[in-house]
C-alpha cells in the first residue's frame, strides 16, 4: 500500500507537480542580460497589466476562443444530433469518419487550411465557380478570421464526440416515457434530449476554449500579423525574446483562465440531478 502511494505520488510530484510549481515560481523572477535573476518580484505582472498591447492581445485571444467555442457548439451539436438520429449502422460509420481527421497531423491540417483559404485556394475556386464572388477574396487568409476558421475546423471533433457520447447514453426508456406521456418531437427535444446531452456540449466547449486560447501553431501559420495571439506571445518569450520569466508570468494568467473554465465546466456539466 505504502509503496504504491510512494510510486504514484513520486511520479506525480516529479513530473507534474514540481514542474508546474517551478513554472509558477518562475513568473516572479526577472531577466538581466539574458540570464535569470532568482529574486521574487511582481515586475512581470505589473508590466503585463500596464502594457496595452499585452492586454489587448489577451482579451482578443479570449474573445476569439469564446467565438470558436460558440460556433463549434452550434455546429457540433447539430452534427452530433444528426448522427444520433441515424440507424445504428450509419452511426458507427459517421463516428469513425469523425475521428479519422484526428489522425492527420495537426501541423499539416493547419498548413492545408492555407491551401483551402488562400487567394488561389479551394474555397475561392468554389466561390468563383458558384458565382458568389466575382474575384478571389483575399480576406480569408493571414488574419484573425483565418485563425477562427482553422481552429474551428481542427477542433470540431472535440465538440461532436462528447456531445454524441452523451446523446447515446440517454436510455431509450426515457424517450419512450416522454412519447407515452404525449410529448411531441420538439417537446421531447427541448425538455428531455437537450438537458440530458448538454453536459457533453459543456465538456466539448471547455476543450475547445482551452485548446483555442492556448494554441500558437494555427495563429502562427495562418494568422499573419493580425492573428498575433496570446499563445504566440508566450511562445515568443521562449524563442527570440528569451524572457522565460515573462513567458511564465503570461502563462500564469492563461492558466488561471483555463482552470476557471475547467472548474465552471465541471460544475455545469455535472448537475446535481445527474450525480
Amino acid at each position: 500500500m505504502l509503496a504504491e502511494d510512494c510510486v504514484l505520488w513520486g511520479f506525480a510530484a516529479l513530473f507534474i507537480l514540481v514542474p508546474l510549481a517551478s513554472f509558477l515560481v518562475y513568473g516572479f523572477f526577472f531577466v538581466v542580460d539574458n540570464s535569470v535573476v532568482y529574486r521574487p518580484t511582481l515586475a512581470n505582472f505589473v508590466e503585463i497589466l500596464s502594457n496595452d498591447s499585452y492586454r489587448t492581445t489577451f482579451f482578443k485571444t479570449l474573445r476569439m476562443a469564446l467565438e470558436v467555442s460558440a460556433i463549434n457548439l452550434v455546429l457540433g451539436y447539430a452534427t452530433a444530433y444528426f448522427i444520433w438520429l441515424r440507424p445504428p449502422a450509419w452511426r458507427n460509420f459517421l463516428v469513425i469518419a469523425l475521428a479519422v481527421p484526428l489522425l492527420m497531423s495537426y501541423i499539416i491540417k493547419i498548413y492545408a487550411m492555407r491551401g483551402v483559404l488562400g487567394t488561389n485556394g479551394l474555397l475561392n475556386s468554389v466561390l468563383l465557380a458558384l458565382g458568389i464572388v466575382d474575384e478571389p477574396v483575399s480576406a480569408l487568409l493571414f488574419n484573425l478570421t483565418a485563425v477562427r476558421i482553422t481552429l474551428s475546423v481542427v477542433l470540431l471533433p472535440f465538440m461532436v464526440l462528447p456531445i454524441y457520447i452523451s446523446l447515446e447514453r440517454i436510455p431509450n426508456s426515457v424517450l419512450n416515457a416522454a412519447a407515452d406521456l404525449g410529448a411531441g418531437e420538439l417537446q421531447t427535444f427541448a425538455r428531455v434530449v437537450l438537458p440530458l446531452s448538454l453536459p457533453g456540449g459543456i465538456v466539448g466547449a471547455m476543450f475547445t476554449f482551452v485548446l483555442a486560447s492556448g494554441d500558437f501553431l494555427a495563429p502562427e501559420l495562418v494568422g499573419g500579423i493580425e492573428g498575433f495571439t496570446y499563445g504566440r506571445l508566450i511562445f515568443s518569450q521562449f524563442g527570440l525574446a528569451f524572457n522565460w520569466p515573462l513567458g511564465a508570468a503570461l502563462s500564469i494568467l492563461l492558466m488561471i483562465v483555463a482552470l476557471a473554465v475547467i472548474y465552471i465546466a465541471r460544475r455545469l456539466g455535472n448537475p446535481r440531478w445527474q450525480r
Binding site: W9, F23, L75, M104, Y106, V153
Partner: protein, 271 residues
Amino acid sequence: MKRLRLLDVSLASVSFLVYLALYLPILLVFVLSFFSMRRGRVRWDTFSFEWYARLFSNESLGEALLNSIIVGVTAIIAATVIATLAALHVNARPSSRSARMLEYVIFLPFLLPPIITGLSLLIYFREIGVSRGLATIIVGHAVFVLAIIYRIILTRLNALSRSLVEAAQDLGASRLQTFRFIILPNLRMPLLTAGILAFALSFDETMITLFLSGTDGTLPVRLYAMMRVGFTPEINALITLILGFSIVLTVVFAFAWRRSGGTDNNRITRI
C-alpha cells in the same frame, strides 16, 4: 415518428458542411501527393509517384519518423504502467481524499493548455540540469497521455464486479495473483484501446514537443521547422501514407472491438 422536414434538411446540411470542412484539408493533401501545383492551381495532367519516390531518399524525415515512433512507444509503456497503478489505486479506495487528489493531478497536464505543460517541463528540466533531447520529449508525452489511459482503464475497473476480486481473495489469491489472473484478462481491450489512442495523441503532439526538443525532433517538430523554410511536396506523400496506415489500423481495430463486444468505451463526458 413524424419529423419536421425543414429541421431534418438543415441538420443534414450542417452535418454535411462539417464533414466537408473536416475532409477538405485531407483531400487537398491527398491530391497534391500525386499532382503538382502551379500558381495555386492543381495541374491534373501531372500525375506521378515522384513525391513518393523522393520520400525514401529524404533522410531527415525518416529520422524524425523514427524518433516519433521511439518516443510514442516508450512514453506509452511508461504511462500505461503508471496509469494502471493509479487506476487500481483509485478503484480500490473510491472515497479516499488522497486518491481524489491524485486523480486531479493526473488530469492537469491533459486539461491545461499544452503550452503550459510544455513550458513548465522546459523550465523544470533546465533548472535540474537535464538538457533537451528524446528523453525530455518522452517525459512530456507520458505525462500528457497519462490521463486518457487512466480514464479508460478506470472506467473498465469500475464496471468490474467487486465480487470477482473478493472471490479470488477468499480462495487465497495474493494481490499479485488477483491482478494477474482476474483483473488483467479483463483489461486487455481497454489497454489496447488506450494504447492506440495514446499513440495517436503522442504521434501528433506538437506544442509540448516544441518546448522539449533539442536537436532531435519528432515528425511534427520536423514538419514545423520545414514549413518555415519552405515546404516540399514529398511531405504530402508522407502524410498520405501515414493517414492511409492510420485508417487501416482504425478500421481493423474497430472491427476487433466490435467483435469483442465492448461497449463501455472511454467516457470522456465523465471527466
